[in-house]
């Protein structure tokens, strides 16, 4: 049993963190919030780092790593607020040609959702529809959808699907669809942990700089405890995400469905509460478009709706009691 990062995993994280710090600077994020179309150069850059092919077997041109390695990577992507249909493209690597090497941008729809909304449809090349009967693939142009003028997360354009598509190319069985949902829940949770950590880092930095009443606000206990609460939620969620990723790869270690549900419940909570905390600690600045706090919170709210909402996962866990 070992839930600490290996040297390789720390290197993987450090390399990606360096790249993302250089690429997704605060100014770049602000600019992307105005013109959110994906830059295919960035997309290829992520693919070049192996982001999408991490768990694809080496024989098939991937890196042959485990889901927990992907969780470490996705936490970093979340922390840097990298936009794009990251989880869907990752999950499509293999069945959808080009997904692993940056040649394809794959977005997805879960046909269980009562309202079908696609992310990044204008930039996408493919859409995977996840149904209880299996996975279906369409070219992105085949989807009739209305882009929303003002998406909640300014970096994530969303389009309301008008007519649910009929048949596409079937690329996976019902079991593949279940696996898609399971792994998607774990990776979305990893993104949420990253969002929560990024929001906490930003809030802690501000709390150490902003002065009121002749003291930095981080010396006020009310502020400290807000931040400590965020830290507790992030650390708990991260442990749950790692354990879930390991359990999905090694079902003997536990129940993958339960582990993934627990991770999603805790990670959604860490991200949304952490985003709120970040806005609150910034005071009036936190309510401005300029400060990045809102981007963390809005991404958290977006991702809460992906791969099962927390309440659904909670009821699933309750059934197992």
């Amino acid at each position: 049993m070992d839930l600490t990062m290996s040297a390789d995993q720390r290197d993987l994280r450090a390399g990606l963190r360096d790249y993302l710090q250089g690429t997704w600077t605060p100014d770049r994020l602000r600019a992307a919030a105005e013109t959110p179309a994906l830059d295919r150069g960035d997309w290829s850059g992520l693919a070049g780092l192996g982001v999408f092919g991490l768990t694809v077997p080496e024989a098939a041109g991937g890196m042959g790593l485990g889901l927990v390695d992907a969780a470490i990577v996705f936490e970093e992507l979340g922390r840097a607020l990298v936009p794009g249909p990251l989880v869907a493209t990752f999950l499509a690597a293999g069945p959808v040609p080009g997904a692993d090497d940056g040649g394809a941008v794959v977005t997805s729809l879960d046909l269980r959702d009562p309202v079908l909304v696609a992310e990044h449809l204008d930039s996408a090349t493919h859409v995977v529809a996840v149904g209880d009967d299996g996975l279906h693939l369409w070219p992105a142009e085949a989807l009739v959808a209305e882009p929303a003028p003002a998406p909640l997360d300014p970096l994530t354009p969303v389009s309301r699907v008008k007519t649910p598509p009929v048949a596409g190319e079937r690329i996976g069985s019902a079991a593949d669809a279940a696996g898609w949902r399971l792994r998607g829940a774990v990776l979305t949770s990893a993104l949420q942990v990253g969002v929560a950590q990024g929001a906490l880092d930003l809030a802690v930095r501000y709390a150490g700089e902003r002065t009121q009443f002749g003291r930095v606000i981080g010396s006020f206990q009310a502020v400290k405890h807000l931040l400590a609460d965020s830290l507790v939620r992030v650390d708990l969620a991260r442990a749950a995400v790692w354990a879930a990723a390991l359990t999905v790869d090694d079902p003997e270690a536990g129940d993958p469905g339960e582990a993934a549900s627990a991770a999603k419940v805790l990670a959604d909570d860490a991200a949304s509460q952490g985003g709120r905390c970040c806005v609150q600690v910034h005071g009036g600045m936190g309510f401005t478009w300029e400060v990045l706090a809102h981007l963390y919170l809005k991404r958290a709210w977006l991702q809460e709706t992906c791969f099962g909402q927390a309440d659904e996962h909670a009821r699933h866990l309750a059934e197992a009691l």
Partner: protein
Amino acid sequence: MDLRLSDRELAFRDRLRAWLADVLPTLPPPPDRDDWPARRRYDTAWQRLLFEAGYAGVDWPAEHGGLGASPTEQLIFLEETARARAPYVGANFVGLLHAGPTLIVEGTDEQRARHLPRILRGEEVWCQGFSEPDAGSDLASLRTGAVRDGDHYVVNGRKVWTSHAEVADYCELLVRTDPGAPRHQGITWLILPMDTPGVQVRPLRTVVGSSEFSELVLDDVRVPVANRVGAENDGWRVAMVTFSFERGTAFIGDVIESRNILAELAAVARATPGRDGGTLWDDAALRRDAGRLAAEVTGLWALIQKNVSEASAGMIPVQGASVFKLRFTENRQRIADLAAHVLGRAALAMGDPAGGRVVEDRVNTLSFTIAAGTSQIQKNILAERALGLPKEPRWT
């Protein structure tokens, strides 16, 4: 990273399981909460059984009579004993988890030889005399004084919240030996034999209704200088060594208990008719709340595994310990609330066969966010040590 146990750890687990399956059915029923002599007998008899089977002091180094088990084996021990509902460490808590480990690191050879084997065999019960009426979270403000008189210290003062004091043989006692020195530099750690003249134990009644802890009144109590652990006026450092043992593994078994209570809650709700037909469990809000608490329990277990892994790698999981304590204690209190809501008016009496255990847990766990560093203090610790925010005002 992986969640698997090694072959050696699996063998350790299987041996322990087999032993527990043999020995647990032979135990007498646990004694009444208020019968302290019987509780001492019960807890120390269990310790003796552990000793005879080679399981005493799992976390103690082998050269001091312990098992020298790895952090993962310690986790297995705590997990398996909790799952099998073996007796809790109980009255042996301070000896096994505080005083013994402190003596191993800081004691003299004589002190070790005198106490360690007896603690392991369940022949010696200890209590902790740190807190005082005016020194709780701010422990370094303690005032119980000790004045040197030849080869003795003469101790005067008061301690409170001393768990197990009624049946303890020894007390790990923090006293002030230099009132003129800066607060942290005038404190000394002493071994106080509880039968020394001048020691008075006054049991305090807790919110549960029983007496879990006492007040100690110390009136011209003479403690041999040979009972000092560490140097005179170096007791704060020694106490920090003691605390470093406290913040490790104390609540692991309780997380398993949290899961058990949730499962019982679900079973009761499934069997209880609802007002509008069906059962209470048909209420989606109840299932959502129970499921969220279950998610936290799962996360807490992962956090334990992470902390234990860090300990195995030679790191000290300080941040992990505070994160765990904060979240575990709050989670358990909310589980007890939810269980009580399910039971409704069946949760109005402690002894009640249906709801008694839940009621008692709901009341008892009020102490979880107070004892061993309150939640507010834990948050201060995290904000300062993990997030690097400015320190709280404190005396120097």
